[in-house]
């Protein structure tokens, strides 16, 4: 087939003009590399968030109420003091609610003699363990009497336990939190790092009452986790919770909620929305960068054709039609574009791995960028190759051999 021969001549042309070939691939390479990296980051963030959801201990029958207006993880104000233990008690009284876990949360230094580390300290109630279903490997969980006595007792996650005690048995030992001694009464089972690098074991739990009077010196709650009797009751329970809290907080009909919900579905929806926004940005960025890549190819090809006028003339003398020349140069631009695409995907993958390896950004590799780049590169090669190719084909053979 004649067209295969043109393809062969195109390959030869690229091989003989290695310098130009390399320059032409650069633009597309950079475009495709950035596309690959952006797709990988987008997917990485999605994986990380999904991971986070899985590790927040949400069962399908539970949701969280966080103090402060806003959406999901983003509070509009940090100092909302309206959510109290009474709210938690009122919620527990609702018929569809099985458990509530009122919580305070603070990041603190935790110290054992000369060893110290920073960890997330939660003030919780004994129901926390039931709500999470998290087993103990040693000692006991916080009890009601610990709560009543505002006892300075702490249950450690595996990470602070390892950092503070280096393999020693921590049960019965004392650790310091804000210059007060707490007795370690229990050790949580280790869950291990999630794929995205989030450490669920990096936590310490103390009685909520102790947290209120000794650590935070606040009487309001940071969040309440609500567990319903069965998953289908989540939506109606959320609505009732909203009404109870609004009444308790004396919010007028016009006032906005001063709390927000986090549900697995809510997070998913949020992820999907952010992903769509990210995708729109991605399409814009890659369109621009690939456009630039295409223009680079077109310009270098035009220059290259000027250098190769004689070659074109020789081919025409020995029987090449205009269409042969057109196809040869079109193949060259498509091949160069695909080559740039392959190199770009390679570079993008390397960058993505680097970002992940050195903890800069979470990335996740999917097959998407490969397909995308193949399609894009072919299109770019065709669109930006047609003008130079036609120009080459319409050179007069008589003049081109005289040049």
């Amino acid at each position: 087939m004649r067209i295969f021969k043109n393809f062969g001549q195109a390959l030869r042309g690229l091989r003989l003009n290695r310098g130009n070939t390399f320059l032409m691939t650069l633009g597309v390479m950079i475009g495709i590399a950035s596309l690959t990296v952006i797709v990988a980051i987008g997917d990485g963030i999605k994986v990380k968030v999904l991971d986070r959801i899985a590790n927040m201990g949400f069962g399908p029958e539970s949701f969280s109420v966080i103090a402060g207006a806003g959406r999901m993880f983003f509070a509009r104000s940090k100092n909302t003091v309206s959510m109290t233990l009474e709210d938690a008690e009122d919620l527990l009284a609702l018929p569809t609610v099985r458990l509530v876990v009122p919580r305070q949360r603070k990041r603190l230094q935790i110290i054992n003699k000369k060893e110290f580390t920073s960890t997330r300290v939660y003030g919780v109630t004994p129901d926390w363990q039931l709500a999470r279903g998290w087993k103990m490997v040693d000692g006991d969980f916080l009890s009601d009497s610990d709560l009543d006595r505002k006892r300075r007792a702490v249950v450690l996650g595996a990470t602070p336990a390892r950092k503070l005690f280096k393999g020693e048995d921590p049960i019965g030992k004392m650790v310091r939190l804000q210059n007060q001694f707490y007795e370690v009464i229990g050790l949580l089972e280790e869950k291990g790092l999630t794929e995205s690098g989030y450490d669920p074991d990096d936590r310490a739990l103390i009685p909520l009452t102790t947290s209120m009077s000794r650590l935070t010196h606040e009487t309001h709650l940071h969040s309440i986790k609500v567990v319903t009797l069965n998953p289908s009751q989540v939506p109606e329970t959320m609505e009732t919770v909203r009404q109870v809290l609004r009444r308790n907080h004396n919010l007028s009909v016009l006032a906005a909620d001063d709390f927000r919900f986090i549900t697995p579905e809510g997070i998913m929806q949020w992820v999907t929305e952010s992903e769509q926004a990210l995708n729109r940005m991605l399409i814009l960025i890659s369109t621009v960068s690939l456009l630039v890549g295409g223009i680079v190819i077109m310009n270098i090809l035009l220059v290259s054709i000027r250098e190769r006028v004689r070659e074109i003339g020789i081919r025409r003398c020995f029987g090449a039609r205009r269409s042969d020349i057109t196809f040869q140069f079109l193949f060259e631009s498509v091949l160069v574009s695909l080559l740039g695409g392959i190199m770009g995907v390679g570079l993008g993958l390397a960058i993505s791995f680097g970002l992940k390896r050195f903890d800069v950004l979470p990335t996740h590799i999917t097959v998407e960028p490969f397909i995308l780049s193949f399609v894009f590169c072919t299109l770019i090669g065709l669109i930006f190759g047609i003008h130079p190719a036609r120009k080459a084909a319409f050179l007069s053979p008589e003049e081109s051999i005289r040049s």
């Binding site: 021969k5 081919r315 003398c317 029987g319 090449a320 007069s396 053979p397 005289r402």
Partner: protein
Amino acid sequence: MNLIEMNSICKSYRNIGFETRVLEDVTLHIKEGDYVSIMGPSGAGKSTLMAIMGCLSQPTSGEYILDGEEVGQLNDRKLSRVRNEKIGFVFQAFHLLPGVTALENVILPLVYAKRPPGNIKEKARELLAKVGMEHRLHHTPGQLSGGEQQRVTIARSLINNPRIILADEPTGNLDSKNGRETMKTFDNLVKEGKTIVLITHDLEVAKHAGRIVSIRDGQIASDHEEKTFSL
């Protein structure tokens, strides 16, 4: 029978505003097996005449019948095919594809042939052997001397088994020894029945041909059979 029949060929180039007439009313008939030299000072229109003869460009007016076919008004596709099948070019500057081996350069016309023979490489090797280049099959033009390059060019012009060989100053870039070699090759090709049209301004070279056509100012100034040439 006339292989080439040019009747009242005119060629003019239009440049912004004014027209340059390069060929004016040229009538030239060449029979199959003829050995013709076209002579003339530079700017006389030799190259333009050769371009038209070789179907690289088309006359502005007049009639050009090549091998019984009017080619003056053919479209690009058909004209390319005529070039491919009926004409072999030999150039002063060789015009080999740079970076490509001698063997592949010789094969080039077959890339664009409608029905290429099966044993392409075999045929190319044979032709290179015929011009004494069998030891340089895989050398690129840059690795060959001028004489060697011209021999590759001749092999290339023969690979499609054309009826006509058009040679534009074939000895212009060669030393006298290689020039004589080249002319000997042409003389032999005529004996094999090829029609050869030589364009030159070297009278010694022109004398190899049996017929010398002189061109001056776009017109044929003289056209005579050389008695000195003998087969």
